[in-house]
């Protein structure tokens, strides 16, 4: 009824508009006709009006979504749900010329380990006072325990770090409210440095580790020398989050394998899925990172493999780690905007468990312990720190927040989002901790992301459900299906799904949504810029300076590209020469990007205006190799070519 009413209103408004401005415009009747023809309900029409973004209009919100095992980050506009960019991080990308011939990006991506893919899970925007500041984006690589820094000046990956202590992470990346630290926590535990040790030694030789990477905002880089790690028991640590406001200084991470199951199903032992789920309770880790940082600053902490590592013994002795029981094998731990609550999603339990962080601090201070784990880590008394357990539905995974005191929890098994009330300014006493609404999503939701939904000041309005399965949502495209991002309108009392975006990449995990106005990207690089340093490259070449320099068996080419020619357009080398081509795009016009591809040599660069990049290869086979511009830059784009001749 409400929808019908709305349709009529919309129709009337549009009719009025069409009369006043454009007599050939659509009228209410015409809209109904279109809707009827396309089989759209009034609710569909409402959704269309909420999401349709005409040509030339920009999205007020921007989402940074992990690209999963495609190793990249997706940039998506909201509410239009248009994909704006793929930022390659751990995998090559020939569009952006990332590790597809470019010398610098290739060595960056491989990280000294010959890796050509990664598994991006949790993007984290840099924060100031607990709010996104739009300057940097951090991502983790679950597969290889790496952390990357993306500069949002140019949306380009600038740094990738290998964790020297472990090879697999999940609790990352998350940042402290002022981005002093970027965190990464090991998941599938290994002995330090990935050394061999039999699984029988799991309890003693295998280690859990949390690494606090020191971020230098001025330089826009992580400083490994100032970073440190804490040893944790090998419990398969899972997702994490930092405290904020009142709980600032604490760090939280879940664990799923306190059973310390080591598999062995071929030998008749239980599968991990059984072994890991045996205990009714696992441990929520509470790490006092501020105390830890102070301890590391004041004491000489021994290094292990180039990383300061506080041993578990010392971690316990210094009171840096406490445990609290949590329902078995939970998934997300999320801190409420006011910093008062940590919300742990049950995954195998239909509840979310709400921990009061003031009480957690109190319990730590008063040593209200119910015991210790086998390693000696004190366990806080569950009843003394838990405020509520809210039954939200089956398979709760992750929780996000809005500005009106509501929490939104993704339900994997229910394929739904649950909206429930937090205790605080908006809901007191009996109104708190109540399930208020549920909306179906399609299907098997993992993470969800709401506007600034994990900051101290959520924006509200929209959430995006990141669904693992799409089944029947889109045209059939063979056995491998896209994932499904569903835009959910949370502005009303009832949540509504208003748009489906197929993700033709890979398993996306977490995402963060930021008001577009906070982002301040550059339009072009200053002429001759090396994107890594953001300063003039020593190889920058300007018009008239192009040259080919031979030194022994090394041929160095200083090249420029602009519409529509490449200078020089003829390069002659001898078989066996080492060829280095430094290419500068000498244009300064917005969007005047050129590519530089050499046929048959697996090389393509992307040269945005002002950028300098280098290809390096050994001319191993004599032959004739045309090179050309891969961006359709101008009417004479096809003529933008040349020849590399290997004698």
């Amino acid at each position: 009824m409400k929808n019908l009413f709305l349709t009529i209103i919309i129709g009337v408004i549009l009719a009025a508009c069409s009369k006043s401005s454009d007599s050939s415009g659509p009228s209410g009747n015409r809209l109904d006709e279109i809707a009827k023809k396309r089989g759209l309900t009034p609710a569909d029409m409402e959704a269309a009006l909420k999401t349709f973004t005409p040509s030339g209009k920009h999205d007020p919100l921007t989402m940074f979504a992990s690209g999963g095992h495609a190793g990249n980050v997706l940039v998506i506009g909201i509410p239009s749900m248009r994909i704006l960019k793929r930022i390659p991080v751990f995998s090559p990308d020939s569009w952006t010329g990332y590790a597809s011939g470019s010398k610098d990006t290739t060595s960056l991506m491989k990280s000294g380990r010959e890796l050509t893919w990664g598994d991006v899970h949790h993007p984290a925007l840099s924060e100031t006072d607990g709010q996104y500041d739009g300057q940097f984006l951090f991502v983790n690589d679950k597969a290889n325990a790496r952390v990357a820094v993306i500069d949002l000046k140019d949306f380009v990956t600038k740094q990738i770090l290998n964790n020297p202590l472990f090879v697999n992470n999940h609790g990352g990346t998350f940042v402290t409210p002022n981005t002093e630290w970027v965190v990464e926590t090991s998941q599938y535990n290994v002995p330090l440095g990935n050394e061999y040790s039999a699984l029988e030694n799991f309890k003693n030789k295998y280690k859990g580790v949390v690494t606090f990477w020191k971020f230098d905002r001025e330089k826009g880089r992580i400083d490994q020398a100032k970073s440190f790690s804490l040893e944790l028991p090998p419990y398969w640590q899972d997702i994490a989050d930092f405290g904020k406001l009142g709980s600032d200084g604490l760090f939280f991470v879940n664990s799923i394998n306190t059973e310390q199951s080591t598999g062995g199903n071929l030998e008749g032992k239980p599968d991990y899925e059984v072994g890991v789920s045996r205990n009714d309770m696992d441990y929520l880790h509470v790490v006092d990172w501020k105390k830890a940082a102070e301890y590391v600053a004041k004491n000489k902490v021994p290094e292990k493999l180039g990383m300061k590592l506080v041993t578990l013994e010392n971690v316990i002795k210094q009171g840096l780690l406490h445990f609290i029981h949590e329902p078995k094998s939970p998934h997300g731990v999320d801190i409420s905007p006011d910093g008062r609550f940590a919300i742990v999603s049950g995954k195998l339990d239909p509840h979310v468990t709400v921990y009061n962080l003031d009480k957690v601090r109190e319990a730590i201070k008063n040593k209200t312990f119910s015991g210790k784990d086998p390693y000696g880590v004190p366990i806080l008394k569950f009843d003394s720190v838990v405020d509520a357990q809210v039954e939200v539905g089956l398979g709760p995974l992750h929780t996000q927040f809005d500005a009106q005191g509501n929490a939104y929890t993704s339900l994997f098994l229910d394929s739904a989002i649950a909206k429930w009330s937090l205790q605080g300014e908006f809901y007191q006493d009996k109104k708190a901790w109540k399930l208020m609404d549920k909306v179906q999503v399609h299907y098997n939701i993992g993470h969800l992301s709401c506007v600034q939904g994990d900051t101290v000041a959520p924006g509200g309005g929209h959430c995006v459900a990141m669904n693992k399965w799409s089944i029947d949502r889109f045209n059939k495209v063979g056995p491998l299906l896209p994932q499904n991002f569903q835009l959910v309108d949370i502005s009303g009392e009832k949540m509504k799904v208003i748009y489906d975006l197929p993700i033709p990449g890979s398993e996306p995990h977490y995402a963060q949504i930021i008001p577009t106005s906070i982002l301040k990207p550059i339009e072009v690089y200053e002429a001759g810029t090396d994107p890594f340093t953001m300063e003039e490259s020593p190889f920058a070449t300007f018009a008239g300076e192009e040259k080919i320099v031979r030194k022994g068996n090394t041929v160095e080419v200083f090249m420029t590209v602009m519409r529509s020619h490449i200078v020089p357009d003829k390069i002659e080398v001898n078989k066996g020469d080492l060829v280095r081509i430094h290419v500068t795009n000498i244009e300064q016009s917005f969007d005047a990007t050129h590519g530089f591809a050499i046929s048959g040599l697996n090389i393509n660069l992307s040269l945005e205006p002002g950028k300098v990049d280098t290809v390096e290869f050994k001319a191993t086979k004599s032959g004739t190799y045309p090179f050309y511009c891969t961006e359709f830059c101008s009417a004479l784009h096809l003529e933008m070519a040349g020849y590399l001749l290997v004698k």
């Binding site: 519409r563 529509s564 300064q588 016009s589 005047a592 003529e639």
Partner: protein, 222 residues
């Protein structure tokens, strides 16, 4: 103003007219820092348009982009035009302004020819500008990739089209300041001369007129 001037005494007249000359000089100098001519080009792929601002000594705007577009039809680089004129422009302006100041401050016989330089300056600018536009439009490199655009006279004033571009061109702030400055020079000078011709008393004329303008009263009349 004319009427007001009539009612003024000679000293007051002198102050007003000379101030106009000083103002003319100041405005002319200031005009150097404003564009004399602008062109705005629009095409589908340039939603913000492309813009040229021509100053006496340099050009500003989307010069690099316009040069890139122009090279397809074999046109020269905008910034290579009128190099000599641009180098001397500042001195010409200073000289002209200095002339105005001298004319206002001293009573030289030659002052009465000061009509000529500012007018010459304006005509010179217009002529030279047209010459360079003609030269650029007509001296297209015959080996350029695009040959369907034949040599043409670029639009100096008003609306024009070339290729996919629509252009709007007009004389701008600096030029109009130069025109105003010329008007001030010419007006003040003319006014002075008229007064001097009608001058009846030698000692009064001494205040206002240039030496050559003086008509000595005849013995008898006095």
């Amino acid at each position: 103003m004319k009427k007001d001037l009539e009612t003024l005494g000679l000293w007051q007249k002198r102050i007003v007219l000379n101030s106009m000359m000083f103002m003319g000089a100041a405005i002319l100098i200031a005009s150097f820092f404003f564009p004399y001519w602008e062109m705005h080009m629009t095409a589908p792929q340039y939603p913000k348009g492309l813009h040229i601002y021509t100053y006496l000594d340099h050009v500003e705007g989307d010069i690099a982009e316009i040069n890139i577009i122009n090279h397809y039809i074999g046109m020269g680089k905008i910034d290579s035009a009128a190099k000599f004129e641009r180098r001397i422009a500042w001195y010409v302006v200073l000289l002209l302004a200095l002339g105005g100041i001298i004319v206002a401050s001293f009573r030289f016989k030659i002052n009465r020819f000061f009509y000529i330089p500012p007018v010459l300056f304006l005509i010179g600018f217009l002529g030279d500008f047209t010459y360079w536009m003609y030269k650029f439009g007509h001296e297209l490199n015959p080996t350029s990739p695009i040959t369907f655009i034949k040599p043409f006279m670029p639009t100096i004033l008003g609306k024009g089209t070339i290729g996919q571009f629509t252009t709007i061109a007009y004389f701008s702030t600096g030029f109009w300041m130069a025109v105003l400055s010329t008007f001030l020079f010419v007006f003040a000078l003319t006014k002075k001369r008229m007064n001097c011709r009608n001058c009846e008393k030698y000692h009064e004329c001494k205040v206002l007129c240039n030496r050559g303008d003086l008509v000595l009263p005849k013995e008898g009349k006095k």
